[in-house]
Symmetry: D2
Subunit: 484 residues, 4 copies
Amino acid sequence: MPAEVKSLNEECGVFGVWGDPHAAEVTHLGLHTLQHRGQEGAGIVGKTAAGLRRHYGFGLVSEVFAQPESLTQLRGTAALGHVRYATAGGRILENIQPLLFRFTDEAIALAHNGNLTNAITLRAQLEAEGAIFQSTSDTEVLMHLLRRSPQPTFKAQLKDALNQVHGGFAFELLTETALYAAVDPNGFRPLVVGQRPDGGLIVCSETAALNAVGATYLRDVQPGQLVTITDDGMTVEAYTTRTQLAVCSMEFVYFARPDSEIHGVNVYQARVKMGEKLAKEQPANGDIVVGVPNSSLSAAIGYARASGLPYELGLVKSQYVARTFIQPTQALREKSVRMKLSAVRAVVAGKRVVLVDDSIVRGTTAIQLVQLLKDAGAKEVHLRIASPPLRFPCFYGIDIQTTKELFAANYSIAEMKAKLGVDSLGFLSVQGLEDSVALNTTAPNRGLCVAYFTGVYPTELDDYTSNLQRELSHLSINVKEVSA
Amino acid sequence: MPAEVKSLNEECGVFGVWGDPHAAEVTHLGLHTLQHRGQEGAGIVGKTAAGLRRHYGFGLVSEVFAQPESLTQLRGTAALGHVRYATAGGRILENIQPLLFRFTDEAIALAHNGNLTNAITLRAQLEAEGAIFQSTSDTEVLMHLLRRSPQPTFKAQLKDALNQVHGGFAFELLTETALYAAVDPNGFRPLVVGQRPDGGLIVCSETAALNAVGATYLRDVQPGQLVTITDDGMTVEAYTTRTQLAVCSMEFVYFARPDSEIHGVNVYQARVKMGEKLAKEQPANGDIVVGVPNSSLSAAIGYARASGLPYELGLVKSQYVARTFIQPTQALREKSVRMKLSAVRAVVAGKRVVLVDDSIVRGTTAIQLVQLLKDAGAKEVHLRIASPPLRFPCFYGIDIQTTKELFAANYSIAEMKAKLGVDSLGFLSVQGLEDSVALNTTAPNRGLCVAYFTGVYPTELDDYTSNLQRELSHLSINVKEVSA
Amino acid sequence: MPAEVKSLNEECGVFGVWGDPHAAEVTHLGLHTLQHRGQEGAGIVGKTAAGLRRHYGFGLVSEVFAQPESLTQLRGTAALGHVRYATAGGRILENIQPLLFRFTDEAIALAHNGNLTNAITLRAQLEAEGAIFQSTSDTEVLMHLLRRSPQPTFKAQLKDALNQVHGGFAFELLTETALYAAVDPNGFRPLVVGQRPDGGLIVCSETAALNAVGATYLRDVQPGQLVTITDDGMTVEAYTTRTQLAVCSMEFVYFARPDSEIHGVNVYQARVKMGEKLAKEQPANGDIVVGVPNSSLSAAIGYARASGLPYELGLVKSQYVARTFIQPTQALREKSVRMKLSAVRAVVAGKRVVLVDDSIVRGTTAIQLVQLLKDAGAKEVHLRIASPPLRFPCFYGIDIQTTKELFAANYSIAEMKAKLGVDSLGFLSVQGLEDSVALNTTAPNRGLCVAYFTGVYPTELDDYTSNLQRELSHLSINVKEVSA
Amino acid sequence: MPAEVKSLNEECGVFGVWGDPHAAEVTHLGLHTLQHRGQEGAGIVGKTAAGLRRHYGFGLVSEVFAQPESLTQLRGTAALGHVRYATAGGRILENIQPLLFRFTDEAIALAHNGNLTNAITLRAQLEAEGAIFQSTSDTEVLMHLLRRSPQPTFKAQLKDALNQVHGGFAFELLTETALYAAVDPNGFRPLVVGQRPDGGLIVCSETAALNAVGATYLRDVQPGQLVTITDDGMTVEAYTTRTQLAVCSMEFVYFARPDSEIHGVNVYQARVKMGEKLAKEQPANGDIVVGVPNSSLSAAIGYARASGLPYELGLVKSQYVARTFIQPTQALREKSVRMKLSAVRAVVAGKRVVLVDDSIVRGTTAIQLVQLLKDAGAKEVHLRIASPPLRFPCFYGIDIQTTKELFAANYSIAEMKAKLGVDSLGFLSVQGLEDSVALNTTAPNRGLCVAYFTGVYPTELDDYTSNLQRELSHLSINVKEVSA
């Protein structure tokens, strides 16, 4: 199952900058670097001499900003950008972020990465009070809460609103006087602060975007923190003290760029360690180690290194195909595997191939990939997954909202092995995953959220509680089993 | 001043249909017929099996709906469409109508032609109570009032809201269960009801759109009326009894199609009569009568008929240029006159030309047009305008919001004559205009609004009162004078 | 049958300029003015500092040159432009003109209006000698003949080639050193020379384009003439002396703009006279005279004037629809009549309408138009056609290549009257047409080509001879009959 | 110097199929797989029921064929496709291939990969005889030669023409009765034959495209061979016997896909061996080995394997940027390096990095890449190039037409080391390259063309001879030197 062809969707990337003479251009480049976090749509709001201006649309950053004017009209000293993949809410233009709210006396832009667990309840309450939403996304709830807050100042209203929303979130707000950024009390979604050589301050989803725009890393926004940046500088404060670190482990496994650091841990190196741990936990009688390009190459290197088997590029990925995520149907998704990946016959023919992938979601593409190797003459295929079996939904911002489609939630390891047609199958253990990332923390699960593997969620689930219970009642898989 | 190149903007056309198996297609064709009422943008909301769906964008109907899918996705048994030219609010996609409001439990589409005089005040009040607007147009105010109304039913809430907005308006609302249409208490903006052969009921801006879709005219929506159409049929009721007919006279002079009837009066015939009256009030020593194509040809025919002078097509209009309105700057507007109109030298050379135009707004294009005729050898040009001098702003939906740009508000007839370079200049009188239209009514001004000619407004002006007073204080033109 | 919705296609307009600092822009504006002569595609070749450069494509001039760069890249002191409607050859990009031939040591642009009667024979001969054509149009033949001519100079080669092609043509060629223009020995297709205030010389299809770019008319290019324009000025010479004027009468009837003069005769005034003659030849018991907008309004004015009946605008044409010609199928053509034209019920209801159209081609749209008037309540419809019945194909550049589709070639006047559903039907006589145009000439048919009405062709027909004979053998209509 | 951001352009990929019910779709997928061979434009000619039809344009295959109709209109049982990067000839639409020649009695499509060394001479001769070229590319010469050949049959004419053109070429021609394919006498450019499960025969540039469409490899087209495929099957014959194998070595070094085999040698494995040889020839005191993604990863794996140093992914390539080749200017090319590649700070900081790249062209991007690593904290950078220094132009189809831009042609190894800012620099030797590929052959240079490294060309250079001599006279670099 190739990482780039799996149906596991990060929902967003955010990038805000304040106090930079090239704010719009910097944001454009930053979004480009965060493109892997969402390909459905993109948008930038620029703080221009004429106030906040927005350009947005469906497609990649390069498509939405294909015309130079689309960017030059946003020029100013601050900007906020967003790349989106839909989690909650449908494919309508109104959902492309940043949302821009134009009030009689001011304008506010809002961008969000994550998922709010109580958005449905809050929206229903707000609508009952006369509120009209312009999007169908959960994001907009925050703005209504803010505008209805009885607090005396904008910042106090924002804190008030942040304390009412639950779940995983990294919010950024841009007004004509400040850039605000806040992370949920568990720090599910990453957010980092950096600084450009000319002083401009940046808050964005990943450090890779800081590097791309020549900015220096300053800090990770911690759980429950609100960052405020104005012409007077940056302040960081807690909007709540009820925090507990639980960084989304899938950021390390699959989502984040290998050249990013999250809470000080480099993603590439964490993946290499996952591969090393996997080799120790799940050794294989193979001749060569092959990773699924591109996201599983790191784990494959680790597996090869720890096992002593030669590392080979037995699969080739086309340079000219983007992630399948933009293709809506399952049928198209399956068809496109062979357009994206091909086996190097000379490498795999007659070999016992240890195939390393970072994760399995639906299993459909993994089945095709194994077939691809067998068609190319592989004698055996030993599939090793550098993360535990994905068995439970995520409610904090990853697009796994039901167990129905999850391969590992519906089949035992032995059944999966049979369906995949592999000669052996092994997953990394939860403990192995936690040790590989090794966040230096005393928090549960070493500061990671591993709920999709264990079914144990760090927070109340609000709107989703009943759904989860119904799903779990149907689940009879032994969640400890990791190999066959 | 060619009608098609003047800067007098009708702001909208609306077209709703209920109970028709081809609702989306019918609406598409209807909007196409109403295209003259707005070229900035267009949109249609269709009541589909999957609920209300919207497609909209900047440009002409043919541009917005260039892809077949854009229309087929809207197929169902009811639809609401809109063509827009901006009056209040800027050129942002959020302002393209119909607005579509998606609530947790329902969706409502809203389309509007007109201008609300108390929208600014109402919006400020609503925002202070926490309301968030998704557009910058005055239209949206109605929805917020409706949603916050304490009334027990949707229709009661709508009536409540309609009684709070002032000005000129023709509103249509589409829900999954009904189509609603309402006209302001003065009937400034036209709205008619018709029926398709298969029973579908239509409410739209002009009867020409009824004809285009094969529908039979049923009635004009009267001032203060609310029309409700459901699967059970149509009801018409008064949401207010404080009404007084004052149909926008510019609909007859310039805006409406010649093949439309407004309150029973055919627009083409009204224009011919304006030309006839003009010939009697303002005779000219000319050899031929030439109208500015295309909107002034009717009045020119009337002038020729009453004066006995030969009617000639001395000006030719290019088939391949749309109205200038879509071009933003004054510079472009002027340049484009010669791309649109040309003189027939063989017709006008050596002749005393009586040039008939329907109105003068800024005067800039009229100046060029006179020059065009002189360049082609016209010996004399006698300009006759088939409406009174435009000297006051309109607050009910025509884009004349300031007297600064109005030629006739800043110069006397003699000054205009000199600036235009014409040999004589004459306007139709207000009385002549009223008698030409001859609405069969006992209302003031025979049921017409002639405020842009007289400065006497049929309603309070709310948000605009102070502005108007300031402007009028600068105005020293004799508003009775009509020729030189 | 509305002029703008009939399937009678002019195939091209040409516009060349030499010695003008704004050559590309002037050509762009000129083509825009000639847009009525072809809407399938457009192109301009500019003589730039970097040599001849071309931009071309399918669609209207405004569509092909939608991006400013498309024009600015062509800037220089000379240019050649073309608007095309397909006669010979299919809808492939290679056929869009000007054709640009890039040789090792030079480049030549070629544009053409007309049709060559011996192109098929010549092409077969040339291909047998190894020639490779890049288009499927007849135009390209000229270039191959030129390049293979044994003559010593470019001009001598061009004359050599011009003497080998037969039929109707107005050619323009642009090289880096000169602009050439030539008209066929009968002058079927119009071509005029004018001069810009700054000295630039223009050769184009119609005088209206000269007016549009502020140029003064100098002369019509006469049959058999070759015009050469270089930095040293203009020379005019005869490439053949075997000439006989036979201007395409359909230019006067329908194709040309009313503000153009052809060989000194204004098109609008010729049409008014056709209407006047028609009224005398074919009087009608009517109440009002209505012309089909826009091309038949001139004739209707003439008819009304001569008959004394009131002239009314009983039909309205939408401003927002281009000619149907761009729509390929007959089905679409018919459907679009009601999108383009509508009747003014208040004008025609209960009236005996004298409907004046300039010509009838297939008859299908005329049938719909009569129905439109009857649906709007017309008591009687008396159709009067301001040209004789079209019964024979044209081989000189009008897209009537077969009699099969010609209404008047397949039915008697009485049959047509029945099929059209009109109360009477009358055509202008050939003599009436000739007298209306009144070219001051001693040539046959007063210098007009009336072959499509009479079947008598001014030249040999070469490739088309056998086809014509076969068609004529099936034709049993009395070609003298003009009314019923 | 990242492989994907270097200015070394393969000029084309070709893909023809005969006898397949999904010919157009198969060709589309095949071209997609060959996209790396050219991104300027793409085209497909399909043999449809209505004859040969073409669709083509600028851009990637996915862009040119963005609309489903663009492909469905080409459906039939045979097709010929092409992806292009410009070598000879400019960026005009006429140069996009396959060229389609429409004759009176037949049509022929022509596609070409390579460069003809005597095209200029041949074209001048042909033009002197009256030939008119529709493109400015060398490809078209073949068709003119063919059409002017006195031979009695098409195939004999084709052989005649093939014997007159010199240089490197892989030609494919499609007619309504056959698909032809031919390779130059040295086999510079690759061409392979395969078969689809349903019998359809394919001739294309690389075996990877065979795999992508589910076809089985049959054979490489050998130097001087002509393959003819009709409904009666395939014949292979020699059009010349004066052949000598000299496969372009840059196909192995950089151009071809790693999953392709050329004359039996897998490209990935050849690259791994180049890396291994490089490690032995040019060892380095490093801590880690990093390859430039993606094309140099294979060589880096080989280097790491042979040196025993750990292989790390120290550079990350963005998934969302295509090759720079589509960007025209040097300025843009440089700017885009950081948009495409970023260093993994945690991996390289404090390390002595052995950076492996496949080749150096201009050196500009290599300089930036070294800087990227140093900025990320690399203590030392030891650059190892898995091919010999590129010092001479290629005239057989790679876009190196002058030594002026070649880094290694203008500087000694020591000078390059200084300019690059690396701590050491080493290239693979020519012998090492030849041994790595190890084509099993007795031909000179083991069957490879290594002229760009040695200046010794396997053929006469015709039109380019004098240029080369002039360039070489300025070259004073020691071509044996490979490290510093």
